[in-house]
């Protein structure tokens, strides 16, 4: 149990502090002035000293100087109503860990004491700016999290009201959206809800978007924070710029149905397009416009390799690809399966397909795919692939 000494000439203050420290799991020692504290510290060791400045007999700075002169390096937090810079600057030179101005909130005392004592719950250092990996929480639009917080799919932070209106009009109805117009409202929303994607206007008038993005990521570590901006002439350069500032990506205004379709696919439909359970890979169907079909297959092309690697790493002998819900394009689907088959062959995996007669017919039409066994249901296919 960490031992903390509170040095203050006010008994009331010492009592309040002792109560709060005890609640944190600390053992508390009290001293009414600097001299009494130094005397006690000759007999006992403590892990932290909370030190007032103005006290009779010996004040805080004199006690701190005496402590350091004796070679005692115990962490000290100044807890005082003294806000004079010269006093605190001198204390800093002698070595104080932190400073709390009276009157103070119990949370501030708890946070700073925990930090000094290296206890869990003290404020952590800022997140590594280079950290770019974004993991999305499970899609559960409208549902409540285990902490009772409400899920929202998209949080929009933009001072122009019509931006959120336009987004609402273009996003599918199952994608939930919440709009705020200021940094303050965004931070409040992120404390109350769990977001999957946060769209932040890159040019908010009252705050640096990059700074706000950093703060939002602290509150929503699993959300993808995306910069909203007018489309620049060089998008690749712009994406690099926003990524260097901590954004996951950029989304350009004005929004078009095509860009929003890509956005939805990227952040919300990914799991539905390809779902893996053990060695079973289910492909979802394509519901967009016919001219966007190529994007569906391109997306599947990119989703297959990591799924296959996971299956191979788990030492399965075969992969079952369930096509019963998939969109069976007469040329694109065989090409996809040929590519998957080739990749599996290199990894030492067999490919088995689940589908009806239309799938069997499709596979039989091409040299590269006609050898892939096709089953009517997943149970029998999985039995073969085990």
């Amino acid at each position: 149990m960490p031992r903390v000494m509170t040095v203050d000439d006010s008994r009331a203050v010492r009592t309040i502090i002792a109560k709060q420290l005890t609640a944190l799991g600390c053992e508390v020692e009290e001293a009414e002035d600097g001299k009494a504290a130094l005397d006690k510290l000759q007999d006992i060791a403590v892990d932290l000293v909370l030190l007032d400045v103005t006290m009779p007999v010996m004040d805080g700075p004199a006690m701190l100087a005496g402590l350091r002169q004796s070679g005692n390096r115990t962490p000290v937090i100044m807890l005082t109503s003294e806000a004079k810079r010269s006093v605190i600057a001198e204390a800093l030179k002698l070595g104080i860990d932190d400073y709390i101005l009276k009157p103070f909130k119990p949370e501030e005392l708890a946070e700073k004491v925990k930090k000094s004592l290296n206890l869990a719950g003290g404020s952590a250092p800022a997140a590594d700016e280079g950290e770019a990996a974004v993991t999305l929480p499970s899609p559960a639009a409208g549902a409540a999290t285990t902490e009772g917080k409400q899920f929202i799919d998209v949080l929009v932070v933009d001072d122009m009201e019509n931006v959120a209106k336009r987004l609402r009009a273009l996003l599918p109805s199952h994608v939930t959206l919440h709009a705020v117009m200021s940094a303050q409202a965004a931070l409040a929303a992120c404390k109350e809800r769990v977001c999957r994607v946060i769209l932040v206007d890159y040019d908010l008038p009252d705050v640096s978007a990059a700074l706000l993005s950093t703060q939002l990521k602290v509150l929503q570590p699993h959300a993808a924070v995306v910069a909203l901006a007018l489309k620049p002439p060089n998008t690749a350069q712009f994406v690099s710029e926003v990524q260097a500032k901590g954004f996951a990506d950029a989304l350009y205004k004005p929004f078009s149905p095509e860009t929003m379709e890509d956005f939805v696919q990227q952040y919300f439909d990914k799991q539905d397009l390809l779902v893996r359970e053990d060695n079973l890979v289910r492909l979802g169907s394509f519901n967009g416009k016919p001219e966007r079909m190529e994007r569906y297959f391109t997306r599947l092309d990119s989703l297959f390799p990591p799924a296959l690697e996971t299956i191979a790493a788990a030492c399965f002998e075969g992969v079952v690809v369930d096509l019963s819900q998939a969109t069976l394009h007469p040329e694109r689907m065989p090409r996809l399966l040929a590519s998957v088959s080739s990749r599996c062959s290199n990894m030492g995996l067999r490919v088995l397909v689940v589908g009806g007669t239309d799938v069997k017919k499709l596979l039989g039409g091409y040299e590269e795919t006609k050898g892939i066994p096709c089953f009517a249901d997943t149970t029998s296919a999985k039995a073969q692939a085990a």
Binding site: Y99, L101, A126, D203, P205, Q215
Partner: protein, 301 residues
Amino acid sequence: MDVAMEPAAKAALEKSTGPLAQQIEKLVLRKIADDSLALPALPSAIARCMELLKDASAEPKEYVVVLETDPMLAARVFRMANSAAFGGTQRSATLMAAVTRLGLKRLKTLLLQAASERLFISKNASIAALAASVWQHSVAVALIARDLCALTARSDSEEACIAGLLHDVGKPIVASVLLEAERQIVELRGSAWIGSEEWTYVLARTHRAVGVAVAQKWELPEVVRTTVRDCSEFDAANRASLANVLCFANALAKTAGICPPLTDIEDAKALVLIGRSLLGVEEQVVGSLSSTIKGRVAEVA
């Protein structure tokens, strides 16, 4: 006073140079009062635009008419409207398009920034370097103060930004008065006047009052004037004051390395420590503000 030195030396300097600082302050303020010190006026185009901004019914074309009278200012509006953040694939070809794209709130900040920046440009080589570094520092303080307000549920981020830009505006003005005095003394006596420590001390002691006078002359809001006046020290009795935000932003900019010459960093560190507790700023926010400010100042200043 935020000049780096030991307490004993500081006390000695205060004793020896305090009266001179008082005299200079009185002199400068008297010159301001009787209009004999050429305080920079708010450029006419900016003054007219600021008037328009107070008029809710003003149309963008009215701003365009005024901006067209100041080519430098118009160029600045174009540059911002066509910057990466605003530009998009379509460039603003007309001033009307540029003003519309920026929006009135951003236009106001841009105008005040342009007006303030002109005060920090000196033809005198002795002051130019000081003025340039004070300008960089002022932009940093303005950005930090603005962001801090936006992130801590305050509605006065715009005033914080303006006060940040102007909090040190008295420095180049007092410096020019000091230089002129020095020039005359050297001519009369043939010897140097005061050393660099005394020079910096007098500047630190007197510049705030001159900043307030500039804010007054430009008819900036009362809160901006009081903020510039009171931002040297924290007021623990009035924790929520904008002056406290500015005092913290000022110290944080210094500890982040964007500071005028001879800044006392230990003093600034103490102010950051006090300000964090006084304003209830989380350590993580302080870290983000500090680590990003240099890059952001480079983008703006």
